[in-house]
């Protein structure tokens, strides 16, 4: 009864054992150079019916491609979010049983998206050379490091005039700001301010400046040492607009010697006999 099915089964077996038709795909002859990653690419080939997936492998990531087959042609296009990283690239066309690899090259970008100007140090001080290192490098749309005249970055050393100021590596970009600050105080003088009776007496500094005439930064700390027979008392104060003021305590036992110390520098002693 079943013998009549044997030829049919044999036929099915024979059909399933037929050789796989090789997938043959090449770039379309329109390309003198390489296809452009972000634009539609055209491939030519035979036996294209079974194509299931097409992938682009850039030098960093891989990505599925949209594709459409028409007779002996495949039109492929990268998706909007594909990163076209420069370097060796491959298109891989896949069927159930076969994969065809098509190598090509994605050239370096030439469109500058970001220019990074890396400055060191960010804060300069007039005590030192006021010299700054700048390394500039440029980045393209797909995070490509773009070539410069020599190498892939440009290194420059800038020498600034020792003037207290805020500058910017790139105009209009506050993130690139750097600072030249006043250095150590050159000349410290103190005087006793002794207004009318029964009012607060205090010691005041001169206008505190560095060697180049820059007023020291607000908030610079100074210590006033007051020495009498009974010992030494230290008062602290912070500069405001280059001036320091030290209110004198009423308990002070005269006579005293006082001097002001800022960093490694100090004033000449001031002798106070009476208030």
């Amino acid at each position: 009864m079943y013998t009549k099915f044997i030829p049919i089964i044999l036929l099915i077996l024979l059909w399933s054992c037929r050789p796989i038709e090789p997938l043959e795909i090449v770039w379309d002859s329109q390309y003198d150079s390489y296809p452009i990653c972000s634009q539609e690419m055209v491939l030519k080939g035979e036996n294209l019916e079974g194509i299931q997936e097409v992938y682009l492998y850039t030098s960093v990531q891989n990505s599925p491609m949209d594709f459409k087959t028409e007779n002996d042609t495949i039109h492929i296009k990268s998706k909007d979010n594909t990163n076209c990283f420069s370097g060796p690239a491959f298109i891989i066309v896949s069927t159930d049983l076969q994969k065809v690899v098509l190598p090509f090259e994605i050239p370096s970008e030439d469109q500058v998206l970001i220019q990074n100007d890396f400055r060191t140090p960010k804060t300069l001080n007039t005590d030192s050379l006021v010299a700054q290192q700048s390394i500039v490098y440029e980045i393209g749309t797909h995070r490509s490091l773009l070539p410069q005249a020599k190498h892939y970055a440009q290194e420059t050393y800038y020498q600034f005039t020792p003037k207290d100021t805020t500058l910017r590596a790139r105009e209009g970009d506050p993130k690139t700001a750097f600072y030249i600050e006043a250095g150590s105080v050159k000349d410290i003088k103190i005087t006793l301010i002794n207004p009318k009776a029964n009012t607060q007496k205090y010691i005041k500094s001169n206008l505190l400046q560095d060697s180049y005439g820059n007023t020291i930064r607000n908030g610079t700390e100074g210590k006033l040492f007051i020495t009498s027979k009974s010992g030494t008392q230290i008062l602290r104060s912070y500069s405001q607009e280059g001036i320091m003021k030290f209110p004198l305590p009423n308990t002070i036992a005269l006579p005293v010697n006082a001097y002001l110390e800022i960093g490694a520098y100090r004033s000449k002693p001031l002798k106070i006999m009476s208030l």
Partner: protein
Amino acid sequence: MKFLYTFLTSLLVAIAVSKIIANSEKSELPSYIINDDIALNHHTKINFDIQSQVKPSPVGQEQLLNDYKNIWAHLNHLYTTNEVSAGKKYYTEEFFDALCRQFQKSPQWVQRHDREHHLILTHYSRNGLLAILHDSLVILEYDFPNQQKRIEKVEVAIALIYQGEHWRLDALNIKPIKRIKKL
């Protein structure tokens, strides 16, 4: 009444346990605790030369080279798998953002190995936070489906920024040394 009390208590315990489990799945350990197996299992050969005016200390050189190797380990892993987050501690925020534009799962058809590097440090910032490197000859080996293999010689330029205890990739440029033949 007793039954209702038992039921409500069990319900509250079940909710609390499920919350704890859900939170523990979301939490991520700090990167210094996690073993970086991708970097540990990566081996390559690097010849290193310094041409920059400012030179890193010997300890600084060692860290730069180690991180450079690890960056390649993660770039190869990314190449095959598209897993952008595996090497995120080796990318700057901007580079990571660019990678995250494309994160579809990969069929993992191709594996890449970096066999050899000839690395030159061309620029190094005085504060040790920026390095520009030129890898003048990198030998890349590709394993394609159906046991096909291919070797490419490329040159690579790379900008690294030191952030959060690692050198991180900020930008790179890969260029074949010989023009690739179209098939």
